[in-house]
């Protein structure tokens, strides 16, 4: 059995040369403009993605404002090739989850239609509130339905829901609820809104393809699907009114249209929410929901510490990449961050109320994300640090490499140290490296983790463990160093670091792990990212405007769908 490290990042250079040649041979590049440096792409598959709880909540907050409580939890999905987002196109919805969504829908609809909110959330006024008003109901349903469904509702759909609202308005008027008499018009609209909120088209983002008018042999996302893909990628929410309008009018797919839309989205403050969601996923921060430390060993680490550790890293990333527009690689050496009172205890620095910018001193042992509590505590056990988990996390989360699981059926007695009372981790994990069946993997993880050993399982700094001085020498892919600062520098110079980000952003944008056909495109994105000085916003723009992002692969399934759609029109 091979214990070697599998790299999910392809050998890009080799492949690119071969691919370009074969594409040229086929003459496919004929349609490519000479000025366009992007290699030809057949695009991605159209997907039917389950909306996430955050996306659902963010979309409702845009439609109804932040005054409406939209707290909702969906079933966790499995992580696939580094991202939870990669599983949304295959995740199903259980019966129990439908019931959960119904109760959230019911709560949201009730809040929207209550006396305090309805006058500003329902734009029109009914002729009378004690019965049906089809005109006002149609106005509300068509406007809200369009934002929820991410497309204009058909006349039939509007008529169906208006009828429901009208009948319910008549029947529910005067009914008692919690001691109050219902106002028919709003009670009817509330029931319909509740139904819309659990509609399959709201919960599933269905991407559809159309023929590309510039190249009838080629499929592309239709305008609404493109708007949704852009919006969930950059904002982690449904398209806003302006983006939908651009999709409806044809502006989005007109020359320069998508550039205008993307540039507006990249300048919007909503980009922060979108990128926080992306990094939260990439850095496996969903683990924070269940992170707890043993209170007898790390009494200073509370649930507030865990929450703040996540926030600190997200604030650091957003400030560095979006506010300051700095080189992504420098995140692993930068001493600039933000501090909260709960974190100040762990870091041993003076506390200020709330969040405040903080810069670690030049002689501080801390610099970069690897020395933040989020990384250190998430990759430790409840009562101690873990050399192996830290090394594995760096390789898998930041370099997109795969560290295999221990082989099954292994006799763990070979790694169970007969003397558990060695003072330091270095001595404890030495057995891994002396045992051939373990050494293959542990050699690629443990030297990384050992260089972080001056940070305990809660992320606190220490020079000794059980009275013995900690030796923090370590290594990463040919670099050797002493301590975390050296590790951060070695990582920032590692060519896989930006490549991994590119791969993750592309997967996140398109909804699935990159297929082999995407390698040329990934090479191109990597080159562009490097040429731009590793600026995140530029990378987002390059990917959002790429052919790989908008084009759709031909498939038998797709042709059948197109036929079905055309024949029903």
């Amino acid at each position: 059995m091979s214990l070697g490290m599998k790299r999910s990042t392809p050998k890009l250079g080799q492949w690119f040369r071969g691919a370009a040649l074969s594409l040229l041979t086929l003459g496919v590049l004929a349609s490519c403009s000479p000025a366009d440096p992007e290699p030809e792409s057949s695009g991605t598959l159209p997907l039917t993605k389950l909306i996430t709880a955050e996306q659902y909540s963010n979309s409702l907050a845009y439609i109804f404002g932040s005054g409406i409580d939209t707290q909702v939890q969906f079933a966790p999905v499995a992580r696939n090739e580094g991202l939870l987002a990669n599983s949304l196109a295959t995740a199903g919805v259980s019966v129990g989850q439908v019931q959960t969504i119904q109760s959230v829908a019911s709560s949201v609809a009730r809040q929207v239609m209550n006396v305090e909110n309805r006058n500003h959330l329902v734009a029109c006024r009914p002729e009378a509130i004690d019965g049906a008003d089809e005109t006002c109901a149609a106005d509300f349903i068509s406007k809200i339905g369009r934002l929820l469904f991410r497309r204009a509702l058909t006349d039939n759909e509007i008529a169906t829901f208006v009828e429901q609202a009208s009948v319910s308005a008549q029947e529910l008027d005067g009914e008692e609820l919690d001691g109050d008499k219902l106002d028919g018009f709003y009670a009817g609209l509330e029931v319909v809104l509740e139904g819309l909120l659990l509609h399959p088209e709201v919960l599933f983002i269905v991407e559809t393809a159309e023929q590309d008018p510039n190249n009838p042999e080629q499929l592309r996302l239709d305008a609404y699907s493109l708007a949704s893909r852009l919006s969930f990628f950059l904002w982690n929410a449904s398209p806003d009114d302006e983006l939908l309008a651009a999709a409806e009018s044809g502006e989005l797919q007109s020359p320069g249209g998508v550039e205008r839309a993307v540039d507006r989205m990249l300048e919007s403050p909503r980009l922060v929410e979108g990128m926080r969601a992306f990094f939260d996923d990439m850095l496996v921060f969903n683990e924070f929901k269940t992170l707890a430390k043993d209170a007898t060993i790390y009494p200073e680490f509370t649930s507030v510490t865990a929450q703040d550790a996540r926030e600190q890293t997200l604030r650091t990333i957003i400030d560095h990449t979006l506010n300051k527009d700095q080189d992504y690689r420098d995140l692993f050496t930068s001493r600039s961050t933000f501090m909260s009172p709960a974190l100040a205890i762990i870091y041993g620095v003076p506390a200020q109320p709330g969040w405040a910018p903080y810069t670690f001193a030049e002689d501080s042992p801390r610099a970069g994300l690897l020395t933040q509590v989020s990384f250190l505590a998430l990759t430790s056990h409840p009562g101690r640090s873990s050399v192996t988990l830290r090394g594995m996390a760096l390789r898998e989360r930041l370099l997109c490499q795969t560290v295999p699981e221990p082989p099954p059926g292994i006799d763990f007695s070979v790694v169970s140290n007969p003397d558990a009372h060695y003072p330091t981790q270095r001595q404890r994990v030495a057995a891994h490296l002396e045992t051939p069946s373990c050494a293959g993997c542990h050699r690629i993880t443990d030297p990384i983790g050992l260089s972080l050993e001056q940070f305990d399982g809660a992320g606190g700094y220490r020079l000794t463990e059980n009275g013995a001085t900690i030796d923090a020498t370590g290594g990463l892919d040919g670099f050797e160093f002493d301590g975390a600062i050296g590790l951060g520098e070695a990582l920032s110079q590692n060519p896989e670091l930006p490549r991994c980000l590119v791969q993750r952003v592309y997967s996140y944008a398109t909804g699935g792990p990159p297929e082999i056909e995407a390698r040329a495109a990934l090479d191109y994105f990597n080159e562009e990212f490097a040429a731009d000085g590793y600026k995140l916003r530029n990378l987002l723009r390059t990917i959002a405007l790429s052919k790989s992002f908008t084009l759709i692969q031909q498939s038998a399934d797709e042709e059948e769908r197109l036929l079905a759609t055309n024949s029903s029109q």
């Binding site: 019966v95 989850q97 439908v98 009828e163 009948v167 029947e171 399959p200 269940t290 043993d294 003397d419």
Partner: protein, 444 residues
């Protein structure tokens, strides 16, 4: 239903509600012997599962004697109060066959599906949901699933490889879902139909009408996912229907008077035990109140992360790294975790035993399958595995036996459970795990 029909339904029904029906509450819903419903129908047999991680410690876990009145080894010493209510199966195997043996996965997946999972693949439909297809349609919830770990990812129940059955993880949220505003007490003096539920039902029906046109817009694989969503909507429709129907009184249904207070959401054995107890009580009462007929509880995940206060490593890491204590001859901390798990299994069985039903207890009318992921915790082996079956399934099971599976597949127990629950299938599982014989030792 056409739009016009829906309108008719609305007109016809809504104005008729608001009528208060006083229901006398007496025990006469039972027949003279108290063993069946007054209508003559037998007490429904309900099915549950319970799961924990990391097996046990060989001889400390496996009794030496088989049959009834067997010895209880150290790790099972807590079983004394329920020994006669449970059948213990040991020395089973989860055969990986051509699939890789996936640590912490193959064992429980075979126990619950009969199929060894391929590399990277999720489990196929688990036994609880196969049974729920048969008996889950009649109640408010098709099934109930909870975890004591405070981690919403910890479930042993799957609709298919990409649809885990997400568990409730907060006792308070679980209470609200079961006994909150939407709970219809079957023993309430008054019954009133909620006009808003009828309106909801009507809107839902309009949405369901769009199923066909929506299906056309997606590919084949996604049709299955959408179909699953529509199945959820149909269950919702049934739930609405039930809320409009006067329930039959149930003597054993005594809903908890007040909401529980959540304990700390940590993984210490103390917190897990309390959360497990709270959720087990809620779950058993939901079964007694006929809110569901299928239920699942996770005590700990296969990669169990339960913590012993003051000990640095969680359960799973401990099984790997703790040296065998020379004096004791085993991993003391790993065994500590197994013992706590077994105590909670006892708690789980006892909550069903404490609820009277008919002339016995609720436990007489349930069948609970208990599984784990490995045999010997330290080596994570998928042989020497144990499976439990608690309850008497409406008098069809004799309990209290220790049965040696002799290295046969653990799926035999699952197959036996399926047949006892009335799922009439000639076999269950694939390749070496395929089972077609009921373990007759446990049949009455």
């Amino acid at each position: 239903m056409s739009k016009w029909n829906r309108r008719q339904v609305l007109k016809g029904m809504v104005k008729g509600v608001g009528v208060t029906v006083a229901l006398p509450f007496l025990d006469y819903f039972l027949n003279g012997n108290g063993t069946a419903l007054a209508s003559g129908a037998p007490m429904p047999v309900r099915f549950g599962t319970w799961g924990y991680g990391l097996g046990g410690t060989g001889k400390l876990f496996v009794p030496q004697q088989t049959g009834p009145n067997y010895d209880l080894p150290e790790e099972l010493s807590s079983w004394a109060p329920i020994q006669n209510d449970v059948n213990l199966f040991t020395n089973g195997h989860a055969f990986p066959d051509a699939s890789p043996n996936r640590n912490h996965y193959t064992g429980w997946v075979v126990s619950r599906t009969g199929v060894a999972p391929d590399a990277g693949a999720g489990p196929s439909e688990t036994i609880d949901l196969t049974i729920a297809k048969k008996i889950g349609g009649a109640t408010r919830f098709n099934n109930l699933t909870a975890t004591a770990t405070a981690d919403a990812r910890d479930t042993y129940s799957y609709y298919n490889a990409s649809t885990p059955n997400e568990p409730e993880w907060s006792p308070l949220a679980f209470y609200k879902r079961l006994f909150g505003l939407d709970f219809q007490d079957p023993n309430a003096d008054e019954f009133e139909r909620d006009a808003r539920v009828i309106a909801r039902q009507s809107v839902l029906s309009a949405i369901m009408d769009q199923e066909r046109s929506l299906m056309k817009t997606v590919g084949v694989a996604d049709r299955e996912r959408l179909d699953q969503y529509f199945t959820g909507l149909r269950q919702l429709e049934r739930q609405f229907e039930q809320r409009l129907t006067k329930p039959e009184p149930i003597a054993s249904c005594v809903p908890p008077g007040q909401a529980p207070v959540d304990v700390a959401m940590d993984q210490s054995t103390e917190s897990v035990k309390i959360r497990h107890q709270m959720m087990a009580e809620l779950m058993a009462m939901a079964v007694a109140c006929d809110q569901t007929r299928v239920f699942n509880m996770t005590y700990s995940a296969a990669f169990a992360s339960t913590i012993r206060t003051g000990y640095e490593k969680p359960h799973h890491t401990c099984t790997h790294e703790e040296p065998v204590d020379e004096k004791l001859g085993y991993q003391e901390n790993a065994s500590f975790f197994t013992r706590r798990a077994m105590e909670s299994w006892v708690d789980f069985v006892e909550v069903f035993k404490k609820i009277p039903e008919g002339d016995g207890t609720l436990l007489d009318n349930v069948l609970i399958l208990g599984t784990t992921d490995v045999g010997y915790a330290r080596t994570h082996s998928v042989d020497g595995m144990s499976v439990f079956l608690a309850g008497r399934a409406g008098g069809t099971v004799k309990s209290g036996h220790h049965i040696d599976l002799n290295g046969g597949s653990v799926a035999q127990v699952g197959y036996t459970a399926l047949r006892l629950m009335g799922v009439d299938t000639p076999s269950w599982g694939t390749l070496s795990n395929e089972s077609s014989d009921v373990i007759s030792d446990v049949l009455v």
